[in-house]
Every structure is written in C-alpha cells, then in structure tokens.
Amino acid sequence: MENNWPIWEIFIRSKNGLNHKHVGSLHATDAEMAMQNARDVYTRRNEGISIWVVESKHISASDPDEGESLFDPANDKVYRHPTFYNLPDELKHM
C-alpha cells in the first residue's frame, strides 16, 4: 500500500426497515479504520444505525455510455406495469 490510503465507499442505513444508502467516500488503510472514520465523518448527528464500508476498487459500475443498450430492453415492455390492463371502474381494491 503506498502512502495515498485507498478510497472506501460508505453506505448507511438511516433506520431499521430502510436500505443502506450510499452517502459518500473516505480514505482509510483498512476496513476497521474505514468504519471508524465513517462513524466520525458521516454519522455525527445520528444519521444512521448501521454502516457498510466497501473499498471503491471492488465496485463494478455500469458504463454510462452503454446506458441505452443496458436499459432499452425495459422501455417497450409496458405490459409490466399495472396501468397496461383495461379493467372496469367498478372493480375495487385491485
């Protein structure tokens, strides 16, 4: 490891029942330090009850330039949405 400490991405669950959400990043030598730093940097005001730390290099991200080919297939599948189906108004609770 050179002197530039690796970057870690920080995810925080703000309260029970919610997903962990990406909040930012920081530098640390290992997971334990990343956790301590995340506590000090991102939860000074009870912003969370659980923290995940992931070293940035372990995240594979989709390429924004390929966004079209990646997400296009979902575009023309309107039948995946409830509004696609024609049902009478008097039908309740559906």
């Binding site: 490891m1 002197n3 530039n4 400490w5 970057i7 909040v23 930012g24 990043s25 920081l26 530098h27 030598t29 290992d30 330090m33 000090d40 940097v41 000074r44 005001r45 991200a61 390429d63 924004p64 330039d65």
Partner: protein
C-alpha cells in the same frame, strides 16, 4: 464529434439533469470544478485554524463543546468536499500538495486573526452567514457529487451561524466592555465577510460560463446584495452598527445601497499578503509533516494485519 458531445452535455444541463463522475464532460468543466471544489475544501480545512485558536479559552463549557462541534463539522465539510473533488480524477495527496505549495487558494477570510472572544461570534454570524449564502445555491449545482456534498454541508451550517449569533447576542446584553468588544469585532469582520462573495461581476470573467454550466446560480454581486439586506436587519437585534456609512435603504431598488469594497486589500490578501496567510499555511504544513509518522504507521499496521490474514488462510 467534440462539438456534438458538447451540445449533448449542455442540453443535459439545460434539462436540469445532473452530471455524474463517469459521464462525459468538457475538460474546462472538469477543471473549473476541480479548482472550485478544492478551493472550497481547503477553505473548510484552513477555516478550522482561526476558530481552533479559541477552543481552550472558551468562556464556559457550553461554549466550548459548541465550538469544538463546529470545528469538527468544518473538518467534515473539508472531507466531503475532497471526496467530491476526487471523483473528478485528482487524488487527495495532490490536492494537499497544491494547498501547501500555495498553488491552490482558499477563502481569503481565513487570513484574518481572531483577536477576541467576540470574533468567534462574528465568524459564526458573518462568515458562516456569508458561506451559507454562497452554499445554498450550490446544492443545485449541476455536478452530482458536489451538489450532494453541499446538501450535507448546508444542513450542518445552520447551527454554526446560530451559535455565533447567540454569542454576540449575549455580549450585546452584557457590560459596556462586552458591548464594545462586540462592536469592535463586527467592525473588523464586516468588510472581509463582504469580500467572501468574490470580485464584483464586472471583474469576474468566469461567472458567465459557470452560470451556463449551472455550477453557479447567482452572481457574486447578487449574493452580496442579499447578504447586506439580511445582515442590516439582524444587526439591529444586536444593537451594532455595520461599519459602512454608505449603507442606506434604496426605495427604488428595494435593497440597501452600500459602500465600495477595498478591492486593493482583497487582492493583497488573495496574493498572500494578508495578516495571517503565512501563519495559516505554516500551521497546515506542520500538521501534515508532524502527522507523517502516524500515516506511515497506519499503513504498516494494515499491511501487517493483511499479511497475517493471508498466512492464516494459507
């Protein structure tokens, strides 16, 4: 091709879509952001120094814990902003190196000394007040990581300004000496705070491009005017006079008129000749150099632990 990418980029910004780190962006946009975000991060970090000066001498425990929390927040702001800046492809050590060598600037306000306890109040009221005025529109900045960092910063700033105002409010109800200390402090901080909005629009050639890219939402002069209008009313509550004989209500404009800023002083401080420029950078460099062994030890410790783990697995 380049032209085409530029058009697509600008159209995206015009639609109020955010730009994210991996998206294509013009080099000049990237450079402008690196300069602005790093300058902003450096300001948060150097900004801890004038206030840190009073932590040991805070008059009560209540004031001391508040000031420590505020200074710790400023460190946090610096860290959010350095992280946002690094998403543009520059690393942390390079950013520090630019600060320490004087290549990168930070807000000139932090080159003024904190001479009395009232200065801690004035910084909260005027300096954090001006910072908030600058920062709130940045929450809508076109660059996603910067905008998100600013949302976090702005949430925390409100307490900074309120704790400062409360310090001054207490002084304003105190003895004659305390009232004099308050007025003297406001006299010293008013103009430097006014300078925090940067050169006037006529001397700010990059403003137009930054507005087109939606990095900036208001011009320097627009924000400065807002600041004067708000502070003039707040000063009445503190029973202090703003040290500008030309401030008066302009019915026609619906704003307060104010006097000319001493731009010569502004540029002198920017160029490194303010009262504390050398002291601030020296303090930063000392902290960085004297902390080197801690950074090295942490790396050695992490490497050792990693090696032990691999051995166990093997």
């Amino acid at each position: 091709m380049e032209k085409n990418l530029n058009d697509i980029f600008q159209a995206k910004i015009d639609r109020e879509e955010k730009i994210e780190p991996k998206d294509w962006m013009p080099d000049a946009y990237r450079k402008t952001l690196i300069r602005q975000i790093s300058q902003h991060a450096h300001s948060e970090i150097v900004g801890m120094l004038p206030e840190g000066n009073w932590i040991t001498r805070a008059p009560t425990l209540r004031r001391k814990v508040a000031l420590m929390a505020k200074v710790q927040d400023e460190a946090g702001h610096g860290l959010y902003l350095y992280s946002a800046c690094e998403t543009l492809g520059i690393d942390r050590d390079t950013l520090f190196e630019q600060l320490h060598s004087g290549k990168a600037k930070y807000s000139s306000i932090f080159n003024y000394p904190t001479l009395s306890w009232a200065d801690i109040g004035s910084i909260g009221w005027l300096v954090d007040g001006a910072a908030i005025m600058n920062q709130v529109p940045l929450c809508r900045c076109s660059y996603g990581p910067y905008a998100r960092a600013m949302v976090r910063v702005c949430k925390e700033e409100s307490f900074h300004q309120r704790q400062g105002f409360e310090i001054l409010l207490n002084l304003s109800k105190g003895s004659d000496e305390q009232k004099a200390m308050l007025q003297e402090s406001v006299n010293r901080w008013w103009w430097p705070a006014m300078m925090m909005f940067g050169p006037s629009d006529a001397d700010s050639p990059n403003t137009q491009q930054s507005m087109q890219w939606k990095i900036k939402r208001f011009t320097n002069d627009e924000l400065r005017q807002k600041f004067v209008d708000i502070c003039y009313e707040q000063a009445k509550i503190l029973n202090v006079t703003l040290p500008d004989p030309d401030i008066k209500w302009n019915e026609e404009r619906g704003h307060y008129d104010f006097g000319e800023i001493n731009w010569d002083e502004f540029w002198q401080v920017v160029k490194g000749n303010g009262p504390c420029n050398k002291e601030r950078i020296a303090a930063r460099k000392t902290a960085w150099e004297e902390g080197a062994w801690v950074r090295e030890a942490a790396v050695a410790h992490a490497n050792k632990r990693a090696a032990r783990k691999t051995k166990k697995v093997a």
